[in-house]
């Protein structure tokens, strides 16, 4: 039966069982959510006004940045059209889900969210927060879904170093603030502070979203690969709201034809030059 599950035949059973345990999860979540409800409904008028003003300024700033982004996006598309590149920037449908405050196995980095297949979630769907990529869904029930975070020891995400365009894989380590990048050659150009963005290879995660920031690089000339560690950008242990992303409406596999579908081998190319760097 355990083997059976590896071939994903038991997903429907798990979905049914998740309905059975949902009341328990709801019950455990109840104190937290009522506490939040009380806090919101009992906060004073002045607090709300202050918060409102703060949000207004923030929105203004964000809107200004968005204008610049739109101009850049248009320019980028124009340049790519000149190069005949088949790159697509689509508006991706999004949905905000909330975490259920339940504890899972302490040795797995998994979270439970309060949306399920009734909201058209699907297995393997990427999960983001305001800072970066958090993880992907692994089990979807009708009312709730389980997501695996990028720091789970059995998780790997294809990434790209934003500065140089070097592609590699970031593995989870089991500690909430560390990712491992084991496939970076010693002569590769990696520095502390480099931003890792998702590369979109593998077709699971949307390309171009921030994933992590390099915090330590250890280049030992005796070894083939350098030891690189990164810290996830997303607030994996602090966010309460998460963002679920769907692929853009025109679902052409934009990144698939570029490389054969084995992102594990994509680490071997050295610096592809500075052409992709801004």
């Amino acid at each position: 039966m355990t083997i059976d599950h590896r071939q994903h035949h038991l997903n429907s059973v798990r979905a049914a069982l998740s309905v059975a345990v949902y009341p328990l999860q709801w019950l455990v979540n109840l104190p937290g959510s009522t506490g939040q409800w009380f806090r919101e409904s009992l906060s004073t008028r002045r607090d709300l006004q202050e918060e409102n003003a703060g949000l207004r300024t923030q929105q203004l700033v964000l809107n200004t940045q968005l204008q610049k982004l739109e101009a850049l996006e248009a320019e980028n598309m124009r340049l790519r059209a000149l190069l005949d590149s088949s790159f697509q920037v689509g508006k991706r449908p999004m949905l905000i889900a909330e975490l259920l405050s339940v504890d899972m196995d302490p040795y797995r980095h998994q979270i439970e969210i309060n949306k399920g297949s009734l909201d058209r979630l699907y297995e393997g769907q990427p999960l983001l927060d305001s800072q970066g990529i958090m993880g992907q869904l692994i089990h979807v029930g009708p009312f709730s879904a389980t997501a695996m975070l990028i720091t789970d020891p059995s998780h790997a995400i294809p990434v790209q170093i934003n500065r140089t365009g070097l592609r590699t894989i970031a593995l989870g380590t089991g500690s909430i603030d560390r990712l491992d990048l084991p496939h970076i050659p010693t002569n590769a150009d990696v520095r502390v502070g480099d931003l890792l963005v998702s590369s979109g290879l593998g077709g699971r995660f949307p390309p171009g979203y921030p994933v992590a920031e390099v915090v330590s690089v250890e280049q030992d000339p005796g070894n083939t690969f350098s030891t690189v560690e990164a810290r996830p950008r997303a607030n994996l242990d602090r966010s309460r709201e998460v963002l679920l992303v769907w692929p853009p409406a025109i679902t052409t596999p934009a990144s698939a034809p570029a490389t054969p579908s084995s992102p594990a081998t994509a680490d071997s190319d050295n610096k592809p030059g500075g052409d992709t760097a801004p």
Binding site: T2, A20, V21, L24, Q25, D103, Y107, P153
Partner: protein
């Protein structure tokens, strides 16, 4: 026993539900590795006290629900809880007459067995070895056994669950 054979089953279910609630209640980070296996403890108790009602089948169902709650491989906890239920039912006449400290030791053995089995399945499917704190819950669970035993016994007597 013949007339009132099945009595108070709802309380058994409720005790399992409470154990599952305690399993997923959020704890502060420092206490998380110490959380005992509430469901296993409850299962051991009922297997010792009512071996003719609660045994392998109940352990299996409880294990499946626990798998869903924990997000582990479906069947992982089910297998190990069924095994523990079997052992408990098998040994219940002996364990019942043990003094408390000896019962605590037995319970610790069962809980360690549970951890060992889940660890074994986890490593078969290629998950890395967890930190040494993985072995703390059986100790905590064993130390909590007298309390749980008293609590569930009083529940059993008050509601005359047979």
């Amino acid at each position: 026993m013949n007339l009132t054979r099945h009595h108070g089953g709802i309380f058994i279910v409720l005790s399992f539900a409470a154990a599952m609630l305690l399993t997923i209640v959020p704890l502060p980070d420092g206490l998380r590795p110490l959380r005992p296996d509430w469901v296993t403890l409850t299962l051991i108790f009922w297997c010792l006290v009512l071996p003719y009602r609660i045994s392998v089948g109940s352990g299996f169902v409880a294990g499946l629900l626990l798998d869903t709650l924990n997000g582990t491989l479906l069947g992982e906890h089910a297998l190990s809880l069924s095994l523990i239920a079997y052992l408990c039912v098998r040994l219940h006449q002996r364990i019942r007459v043990y003094p408390m400290w000896q019962q605590v030791l037995m319970v610790m053995v069962f809980l360690t067995l549970h951890q060992l089995l889940t660890l074994w399945i986890d490593s078969v499917i290629g998950r890395p070895m967890p930190s040494p704190s993985y072995w703390l819950p059986p100790l905590v669970g064993g130390l909590l056994w007298p309390v749980i035993y008293q609590l569930l016994t009083s529940l059993r007597i008050n509601f005359s669950i047979q």
